[in-house]
């Protein structure tokens, strides 16, 4: 356990080193936040209470999205590139020798990364957004820890998805294709571009049931106090359910890969 805590701390410190990249990321998240906020404002001007959100809630949703973009790796950029590279070059053989669990190792490192990005790239755009626009903020103090728990579960689901994507490189050798499809799904089905509550009809039903919903839509709804009491428990159960299913799938694929696949020589 101590080992994995050290790995997580390492992931945090490693990303904290890239100060310039973090500043650039904050800038980008802020610019996109502004562009999206204006389009949402035009949309909610025409249709107040669209998707059950009022204007202030819709604008808050935009900035929560920007804060969680890097944190939950909605569009990738977490650990998967590195893992794919290690599989491609054969370095993964060294990792498999180590007396640690591969999935848990990467999970810990990614958790450290996510925590850094929540602080490094999440807080500043959110504060800028709150100054520039009239945002809906939680009215109860307990909403904040509830939100953070939901974010942590979302990060876990995101990790589980990207881990499966990275492991596909064992068979395809080049993981770029699967990574792009996952990136695509992450962008659209997480509710990054438009809240899933606004998606019409069957598309909305499906989108809200997919794992990506637990990365942004569910945490955002917790933040906006749309999910309280039993609905909050339901939200956690939804996230936890996907996390367990996808992590188990990752474990299964991992054991299949290590048993059957010939590692690339280097």
């Amino acid at each position: 356990m101590r080992l994995y805590a050290a790995v997580a701390a390492g992931g945090f410190r490693r990303h904290a080193t890239y100060r310039m990249a973090t500043a650039a990321g904050v800038f980008t998240n802020t610019v996109f936040g502004f562009i999206l906020a204006y389009t949402y404002r035009a949309l909610w001007d025409e249709r107040p209470h669209l998707g059950g959100y009022d204007m202030a809630e819709a604008l808050a949703y935009v900035w929560i999205g920007q804060a969680l973009l890097a944190t939950a790796g909605l569009m990738g950029g977490g650990f998967e590139d590195e893992l794919i590279e290690r599989i491609k070059t054969g370095d993964i053989a060294i990792d498999l020798y180590r007396p640690v669990d591969l999935q848990l190792w990467w999970f810990s490192a990614n958790l450290g990364r996510a925590l850094f990005h929540l602080l490094g790239r999440g807080v500043v755009p959110m504060v800028v957004g709150a100054f520039a626009f009239d945002l809906a903020l939680p009215s109860r103090a307990l909403t904040w820890p509830a939100f953070l728990l939901s974010v942590a579960l979302g990060v876990t689901v995101s990790f589980a998805v990207w881990y499966l994507v990275a492991l596909s490189a064992f068979w395809l050798m080049d993981g770029a294709g699967t990574a792009q499809i996952a990136w695509l799904a992450g962008m659209f089905f997480s509710g990054m571009l438009l809240p899933l509550n606004v998606f019409p009809g069957a598309l909305g039903e499906v989108a809200r049931a997919l794992p990506w919903a637990s990365m942004l839509q569910v945490p955002a709804d917790v933040f906006l106090e749309k999910r309280t009491g039993w609905a909050l428990v339901g939200a956690y159960a939804f996230q936890l359910g996907w996390a367990v299913v996808l992590l188990a799938a990752g474990r299964f694929v991992q054991s299949a890969a290590t048993r059957r696949v010939v590692v690339q020589g280097g």
Partner: protein, 258 residues
């Protein structure tokens, strides 16, 4: 030739290439699906109809797609500066910019161009515009000048990385961000932002100003109407300035030596 090399190399993993091409096409479609979803809830956005927004979307996406195909790779420059592999390019007898642009040339980016063109053609069918010779000539002009302006921004961003090294995301906010911005009518944004896009980073010349002329609407934020005819000059000026920035940056480059 370097581009061809990278094309051949991606073709080795055929399945993966087919998937990236497909997802590149669909990725950009999803962009448009969001606009379709928005219009499934409302009739107009900022006073613009669906066909008009589709026209804005099609023009900027095609221009951006072409620029991305030609110059999209230059944002990898920071990595090359960091790990010192840029030195390899300096000793080859080919202009460095050409090499950097062709570095990992990604044919899959045709996906974005074709998707932008599709939406553009579709919007032209839907639009209710009184076409004149000038307006028709404006279309290819917008796409060509627009992609030149985007190229200039990308290269300018790359020049900046000689100093900043791992700040490629800043360029993204101007290129991808600018592309997203231009997909929506200028009326929905704060007028200061619109002015910034006209006078500071001249993205508005990619499509807003000429497109508003084609659509027969007033130019935004008190910008005079004749600016619609400026894109060729703006594009030329941007390319010139960028070429200067690139030269200066390259001259001041010091290898990390690693």
């Amino acid at each position: 030739m370097i581009a061809m090399m990278w094309v051949r190399s991606t073709m080795t993993y055929r399945f993966s290439f087919a998937m990236t091409l497909f997802s590149n096409f669909t990725a950009t479609i999803f962009d448009f699906v969001v606009i379709v979803l928005m219009f499934s809830q409302v009739d107009g956005l900022g006073g613009f109809s669906f066909a008009e927004v589709a026209f804005l979307y099609g023009t900027t996406s095609t221009a951006f797609g072409l620029a991305d195909l030609a110059m999209g790779q230059v944002n990898r420059l920071g990595r090359r500066v960091r790990d010192g592999t840029l030195d390899t390019l300096l000793v080859r007898p080919v202009p460095v910019l050409a090499q950097v642009a062709a570095d990992r040339f990604a044919l899959r980016r045709l996906g974005r161009v074709s998707q932008g063109l599709l939406v553009l053609i579709w919007s032209l069918v839907m639009l209710d515009v009184e076409w004149t010779a000038v307006k028709v000539a404006m279309l290819p002009l917008m796409v060509v000048c627009g992609s030149l302006i985007f190229c200039a921004v990308m290269v300018a961003g790359a020049s900046f990385q000689f100093w900043a090294q791992d700040a490629s995301e800043v360029t993204n906010s101007f290129t991808y961000g600018g592309n997203t911005l231009l997909q929506y009518p200028p009326t929905i944004f704060a007028q200061d932002l619109v002015r910034g896009v006209v006078y500071v980073v001249p993205l508005a010349f990619v499509n807003w100003l000429p497109a508003l002329y084609v659509l027969g609407r007033d130019a935004p934020a008190g910008v005079p109407g004749w600016t619609a005819f400026l894109p060729p000059f703006v594009a030329a000026a941007c390319c010139l300035l960028t070429a200067l920035a690139w030269r200066t940056a390259l001259r001041s480059y010091r290898s990390t030596g690693s």
